[in-house]
């Protein structure tokens, strides 16, 4: 408990800073989609999470962000929700690494968080910040394409029918 409290205090005083470099950001149907080109990972933020992420400008403390977010809910609920969201953003590497001094075990499971703040799953999807990773297989169904070399340009890659050998000797998805 003591550790938790210490971590919470540290995070409250922190000024999280959203990453800018190496990200492709697109708005789509009320969601914010982010592609991390350095890690080849994609994330989806609902509007609440995107709002928090945008507030992570390195000037506002976590407490400031929580206060802004508390308009629509009790302050203690906002504290849980914002802390959880910021930590998830950090885990998704969407914040500058040094801008959140304490991270680690404070991320609650979604279910536990909902139980703690007493809200149903259906309402949660709308009002609570949601940071999800986009993990659908690529259309080429060939996530492993890139790590294999090949020797026959323009031919289907050995063992990976969804990939083709390019001139550089790398298996790439058909396109």
């Amino acid at each position: 408990v003591k550790n938790d409290r210490q971590q919470t205090i540290l995070i409250d005083a922190a000024r999280p800073l959203a990453r800018k470099d190496g990200l492709v950001i697109e708005e789509l149907d009320g969601e914010t989609l982010i592609y991390d080109t350095e890690r080849d990972k994609a994330h989806c933020l609902n509007s609440a999470a995107a709002q928090i992420w945008r507030h992570c400008d390195g000037r506002h403390t976590l407490a400031d962000i929580r206060d802004d977010f508390a308009d629509d809910m009790p302050i203690e609920v906002a504290q849980e929700v914002v802390s959880d969201c910021v930590l998830r953003l950090s885990r998704a590497r969407l914040l500058e690494e040094d801008s959140l001094p304490s991270k680690g075990n404070l991320v609650l499971s979604r279910r536990n968080l909902l139980r703690k703040i007493g809200i149903g799953a259906a309402s949660a999807a709308i009002v609570l910040p949601l940071v999800t990773s986009i993990v659908a297989p690529t259309p080429a169904a060939a996530a492993s394409c890139g790590s294999y070399s090949c020797h026959a340009p323009h031919f289907t890659c050995p063992f990976f029918g969804g990939c083709i050998c390019n001139r550089g000797g790398r298996c790439v998805p058909f396109g």
Partner: protein, 365 residues
Amino acid sequence: MPTARLKIPPVARLVEAVAGSWRQNPPGLEWEQSSLDSVLRPLIASGCGALVWRRICRNESLSASAAGASLHDLWRLNVLKVSEQQRQLSLLFARLAQAKIKGILLKGLSVANLYPDPRLRPVGDIDLYVGSEQFDDAKKVIAELADEGVPAPVDLEHEASNWTNLSFGEALGRSGRLNVGGATVRVLGAEDNLRFLCLHFLQHGGGRALWLCDVAAAVENRPAGFDWDLCLGTRPAVRNWVASVISLAGNLLGAKIDDTPIAQQEKLPNWFPKTVLSQWASKVSGNMDGPGTPVPSPLGPVTFIRALRRRWPDPISATVRVGGRLDNSPRLIYQLRWAFQRAAKFYFRRSPDFDPSSSAPPYIP
């Protein structure tokens, strides 16, 4: 509707889902969840996931299902990857222009432009066609970009005449310009592009439904004054190939080809759509492993037969790679010829005298 006659349910579902999906307002799909589940994997492999998402997104039960969520994620991924590739293309073509290198964008975003939203079509690497004399310069530009932290995945072609069936000079003279993410890029002219899409589809054994959608979209969105003679070319074999693929798009996916000369084309050979459907039905596209596939060693009689089976060419790509016609004659002769040519290539590749840089793209007479 031709789909009703197909007796391979999962593939018939795939065909139903994909048919017309390239159009501005495709009708919604009113399926049971189980139907979508059954076709999800081939659908993902087909490259048409985002196109089909557009057809189910207004159906609450389908869009909320696990399969629907996967298609939704494909759409989201497409949006991001296309945005990233637009940025890469914009940088690449600006650098090429600085270096006075003329390049033509093939496939990818040049074709995506034929769809109502270019983000509906997935992108892979950037296929760039340059003249042979500028090939090395283009390679340097790409390497410089990579050094600067812009690793554009470019597949540089300088012998694409074997794919487009025309020289770089001809392709350049007839090329058009396209705005991609704020950058102007050169793309093949409409006639050359349609021919190229058809040949590309055949060379890969018709392995992906997306490529036939590309053909359908190119036919339906062709500009006024489209020159069919230019598109079909003068060589009888190439005319036969291009016409067959367009006809297949009409028969299988319901592409509107009634107002084209292809509508008068003789009936497609039965084996052709069947082979395409069996390719789509498999989880992966294409069944050619290519000469680069490792061969077990030592090569005894049993391992030889196994290796041969794995490398046995499909009848479509075998036919076009040895210059045959897509007709009702047996395919075995083409498959044998192509298998023999590949075996010879494999033999010489293993020879110490073999120079990998001289590896030529597939031959089209």
